[in-house]
Subunit: 364 residues, 2 copies
């Protein structure tokens, strides 16, 4: 096995490209064929392909075959909308009834954005959502409107990230994403509380690759760069951000995300419900009702410029801002199409044949 | 120089102990003598000593001599209260007018707690606060009332933490603290976005000690465990959490904190104002208006129990929750008094003599 750098993972994309809207058409038709209505299918398809265009290839169309399986198995609800558990204006709780999480989360961002414009901020939490896909893909709805947004989620049914000092999984990677408007491009942060994710670990494992550092521990608590420890018997665990050296950081983030998602929604691990899903926290701030939109963008644009112009450790690698590569990927996708991770379309071929959905065209 | 572990730093406390309330009386009298009114002095003194009792000794009475200097130099405003820049119920901005930050931040937590009880959540941001001290000390006002609280701050006048990939300071340590009520003790998270803080770096440097890992880079971008790089000419920089391996985590956190504190308050680095200070973000959630207080505490208590019972890497070191040691320190302080970091009282002796304030008694 060999170690792999993050930028090498990106470089292994399939050289074949597909038109952005054709991929969305393909994904949407598959979801409609499986039973979703047009709106749910279109939003889910759109955001999965946006995730691929942003380079978040573990959370793009790579998820779709599993979503179709979940719908077919009755594990993903297709009918109706979320039940409102609580609504106090700026504080909202939905029961997602295991509806498609990408769609639910997008609806939550839209509602929070709308309400933040009159209240200054609005938080929507969702219990019993299904998987919400790529968090970064959800941010631009808000940042395009000049709003700051936070999205976090956890899956109460899974546990593969250890607390700091532990060798046993307690958390999911518990990601948090933050969209920050500036005076030019928004900053789009999307990070797990653990050093790496379950999806990336599975991909490396299948390719026989190792983490670039000791990002996990085995069941005996020994530091490990082998993604196979997660599926060993007994399993090891992923380490929180900061790792063995200062993992109290990722541990703190994970506890914050669990409290925001499962605590505020009032539903989570304590209920012992199985099945792939998510508890979700969405919050939007409208800077107009705080210190003003221009003042906000002036400050965030200023710090962004400071970061970009900071002297780099490696002169060949200027300091980048979170989201820079994702936004470039999105723009490129409009012109050059989207490159998918190898095997993604092959994984959907059987469903496409069964549902009679035409495969996406290859571009140029 | 030798490396030092975090728990060894705690172990170097002065063996002499003082009564909690006597230390608060001493600090309060000094602040009143310098010109603060009773309320501002009492709150500032109370929370500084609470920080010491919690073990956050770089942000306890160790700050007081500098606060007195700032008051005497006219750099810390002593009269009046914050100006309200915006107030939309759940979204509030204050101009702190460089008033004592510990008091301002405590007032913000109190206001946000009160409003969250009717609105579900409330965010108060403060521009031009003075230094707010120890974030963890501010959390229990909210958690004692069953509320979840977040406090973050940045100092627009300083920069010693590099962005990921950089070798030049752009951020302050940009801490974020989160208080989470559970079915027993609250979880009290207080972490900087950087691996370590400026205060800890200064202390290690003065003692001729090194970081336990490469927590900094020198001006040429070489990894370093020498806290002296921060004061070298040209200076190096502290690394964001995750370090050279995965510092995009701390970098993302720092950008989030800068946006919450300086973006939402509409005042910060872009204004180029000098002088020690802080931009502050405080937010409180009342779980009663989300999924319910019992449901919240049930979930957070459950994950806390999972963490505590997770198999530890080192059998002699059970997994702890953030805040466990701080809460034990607070309880012990009521019975056994407070141990200060060596030199703290000596640093206040000159001011005490000048103002005629009696030194705190030594306990038993």
């Amino acid at each position: 096995m060999q170690a792999v750098r993050g930028d090498e993972l990106v470089a292994t994309m399939d050289p074949v490209r597909h038109e952005l809207r054709d991929l969305q058409r393909f994904a949407s038709e598959l979801l409609v064929a499986a039973g979703l209505n047009d709106a749910k299918a279109a939003t889910t398809a759109r955001l999965l392909v946006v995730a691929d265009a942003m380079g978040h290839s573990t959370h793009g169309l790579a998820q779709l075959a599993d979503y179709l399986d979940e719908i077919e198995a009755g594990e993903m609800e297709i009918h109706g909308g979320p039940t409102v558990v609580a609504d106090h204006g700026a504080a909202v709780v939905w029961d997602g009834r295991r509806l498609p999480g990408v769609w639910l989360a997008a609806e939550a961002v839209a509602l929070a954005s709308e309400r933040a414009a009159s209240l200054g901020l609005c938080a929507v939490t969702i219990r019993r959502s299904h998987h919400i896909g790529c968090l970064a893909a959800l941010l631009t709805h808000a940042t395009d409107r000049g709003l700051m947004v936070m999205v976090a989620c956890s899956d109460p049914s899974a546990a593969m990230v250890a607390p700091f000092g532990g060798r046993e999984g307690v958390f999911t990677p518990d990601p948090i994403a933050i969209g920050v408007p500036t005076d030019s491009d928004p900053i789009l942060i999307d990070m797990s509380s653990s050093i790496t994710t379950a999806g990336m670990s599975g991909r490396l494992r299948r390719q026989g690759l190792r983490y670039p550092g000791d990002w996990a521990v085995d069941a005996e608590g020994r530091p490990s760069d082998d993604p196979g420890v997660l599926v060993a018997d007994p399993p090891g665990a992923l380490l929180p951000a900061g790792g063995l050296d200062h993992g109290q950081k990722g541990y703190g983030l994970a506890l914050m995300v669990e409290a925001l998602t499962q605590g505020l929604s009032g539903y989570g691990r304590a209920d012992g419900e199985g099945g792939w899903g998510a508890s979700v926290f969405v919050q939007v701030f409208d800077p107009a009702l705080f210190g003003g939109r221009d003042a906000f963008a002036g400050q965030t644009g200023f710090i962004a410029a400071l970061c970009r112009s900071a002297a780099p450790i490696d002169p060949a690698q200027p300091v980048r801002l979170p989201g820079e590569a994702a936004l470039r990927g999105l723009r490129d996708a409009e012109v050059c199409g989207v490159a998918l991770y190898p095997g993604v379309l092959e994984g959907l071929a059987e469903a496409a044949a069964r549902y009679g959905v035409a495969a996406p065209q290859v571009v140029g």
